[in-house]
Chain length 420, copies 2
């Protein structure tokens, strides 16, 4: 909040397509899809129409004992498009809550078969949300270091350091050693497939997912895919897991699920988990977890509209062309002395700067320059990234990336002793 | 889920006012406001219009670095109507997440002043949500007993056994003894003011809140009011805390905040907490907790519409008359042999049955009878309760309560040895 003394909050009056507009009529390209949620632009005519029609029918009803058409339709479609072993849907309102559902289910499933396995494994540099359970799995100090005494039991394993297959194998070996030692106390391995988004858009090879998934099977540990940020086409395939051809035991989805309109999240799971909770009420083996607005009909209507657009408009194919265009422009950044590396996975492209001490918060200068020029870039430390709505045009990509290029060119010269 | 083999889920096609309508055209009075969220009926013309207008302008924008008019307006209004010490708003998507925010802030505030206080105190029979942090505070075995190894540190204190002042004093004495012994390790006392809703609509005297609040001040422990279920007029005053004239350090709101339309929650806090987090970024004392859809503009538009209705339609006064009408009818239930007790706080009325073993799930029979007759009653164990939308008419109250009366009259005779 103190930052805003120097750089005041910008009140947004309206938004349309990739553009946010403030009260002075100034427009900003939403180059980060408003925290990775918006897929098809703001005020999308079809999504908004579908929400309005739902408003004229049923906005919300208790989701215990009762159900409604939009959620049945959505659940059937999600089961259809996710890996074939995932057959059931459990809903919540945000990504953190979905992660809480997944870890509770994993733990409870084991309890139901007589095993107490209170540990969860996640990767270094990971982020899985900020409620206590979800926070415990993450590894970003900025979010969790103040809460140490409140966290649940989790173990960090090494993340591949880059997108190479060698690194994938090295990290998988480390995971194997951990499982060999402690698998009996570990319920699940939780992972952000292909891209650790909050962790500076860190990317790694699908091979790691493949190897990790095999290890999970071998050691009887659940594989939880946290596709909250990477799902719904963001990495080039509908879900990132597809690129490694893995079948997670649980998959958590949120963000893009409603196209950036309304809070909604869901955990997909397998029949065997569902069956373990399916029993007479008095046996106390059922899985209970409810939020008041679970199964909100308006959010489900938005989610169905999003899936309609994917079905009708060949989005993934169009994105492939846009990704290729972004990739060509991305290579140009390597010419700059203060650029350490660039990387891309589908509709996520990232640039790591070098030569600036952390406390200088060099990314903030890129942010400021972007705002001045009408582009919302929101760096993560010294990482500048692009994660635009899929409807962005080549012209708008030019504006977005050229602005970032200028901003980086105009930064002070690098400090030669600092490699990071 | 297994219950639905015998009693299938009811798909709802549309809803209007207090009525839910299924695909056969059958209507049900939503006597529990769809899990305590709906205030002014389904498809309320004004709320729905306000959401539609917001859809035509701005559905959502990142809530970091940016803001928007509906949330500024909502925040100012919430600060205005809540106790005068509460001056800042922190948003999330559901009640559990709001509780997580409140306990993290309480703990972190203490950390910032050099104190590590990892324990939280809550009441026996309490419910505060189902993410790990929130779940740890609750005391209902059905939700938490399977997760013991995952929970954070909490201590239970005695809840007043009824609405008498003696019980309030007895429970406050117990709280005092606990604080005397362990206050140095306790960050906060978390409480559902006046009514423990999930805990069988258990009600207690405002005096307990008053005494507990004084003890919190005396022992330097935060008072967190969980008004998620009881806020927004449900107990007769706008917020339940008002009836005890206490000023909580944190207040969590959700459910009724959007009138039952969209997921939204908020924690109100004091300047002194805000100030303790307000510092240069590099000092790492800031409070970080974000959900992707935090500050969703559509949900804020619904919430502003709800506050407009409160302002323009003298809801609290109208509810007083309805509560009195409900109270008169409630006394009639005491004539029944299988009714142990009745109680009421504002627009919540509850009946406890006696003479049935728990495993018989006698409430389920009342539920079934209600559905047959077109009333959605959803008992909590052997407690039958009414928590209708505020727009319910006397005629609809008759139908709702008469149906419950019939259902209870038709239950099998009590087992004389069972007092509960």
């Amino acid at each position: 909040m103190k930052d805003y003394e120097r750089l005041p909050l910008i009140p947004i009056k309206s938004a349309k397509g990739v553009y946010l507009e403030d009260f002075e009529g100034k427009k900003y390209i939403d180059a980060i899809s408003s925290w990775w949620v918006n897929l098809f632009g703001h005020q999308h005519p079809y999504i908004k129409q579908m929400i309005k029609e739902q408003l004229d029918c049923l906005e919300h009803v208790i989701f215990a004992g009762f159900t409604h058409e939009p959620i049945i339709r959505l659940s059937e479609r999600l089961v259809e498009i996710t890996p074939s072993n995932l057959t059931k849907c459990f809903y919540a309102d945000n990504g953190s809550s979905a992660i809480e559902v997944a870890i509770k289910m994993s733990f409870h499933y084991n309890k139901n078969r007589g095993l107490t396995k209170p540990y969860f494994v996640s990767l270094e540099n990971s982020y899985h949300g900020e409620t206590i359970g979800a926070l415990s799995l993450g590894d970003l100090g900025i979010y969790k270091e103040s809460y140490e005494e409140l966290l649940i039991r989790s173990i960090k394993s090494e993340v591949p350091r880059d997108q190479s297959e060698e690194e994938a194998k090295r990290a998988a070996d480390a995971l194997k050693r951990l499982f060999e030692e402690r698998s009996e106390e570990i319920s699940a391995f939780v992972v952000e497939p292909l891209v650790q988004c909050a962790g500076g858009m860190h990317m790694y090879s699908p091979l790691f997912l493949k190897l990790a998934s095999e290890l999970c099977k071998e050691f009887d540990i659940h594989f939880i895919a946290d596709e909250i940020a990477v799902g719904f086409g963001r990495t080039g395939s509908m879900f990132a897991c597809e690129q490694a051809d893995v079948k997670p035991n649980f998959m958590a989805l949120s963000k893009g699920i409603t196209g950036g309109y309304l809070p909604l999240s869901v955990v997909l799971l397998e029949d065997k988990m569902y069956d373990s909770f399916y029993c007479d009420y008095n046996l106390n083996k059922s899985f209970l977890h409810s939020h008041s607005y679970t199964g909100n009909a308006l959010a489900c209507a938005a989610a169905n509209a999003v899936l309609d657009i994917f079905e009708n408009e060949d989005i993934l194919e169009k994105n492939r062309k846009k990704s290729a265009y972004i990739n060509k422009k991305l290579q140009k950044f390597l010419e700059l002395k203060n650029v350490k590396s660039v990387r891309q996975t589908g509709m996520i492209a990232a640039i790591t700067l070098r030569g600036y001490p952390t406390q200088e918060r060099i990314g903030l200068r890129v942010y400021e320059y972007g705002l001045k020029k009408g582009v919302l870039l929101r760096p993560l430390g010294n990482v500048i990234y692009f994660m635009p709505p899929y409807i962005i045009t080549e012209e708008e990509i030019d504006k977005m990336m050229d602005t970032a290029y200028e901003a980086i060119s105009l930064l002070p010269p690098v400090e030669p002793n600092l490699e990071t």
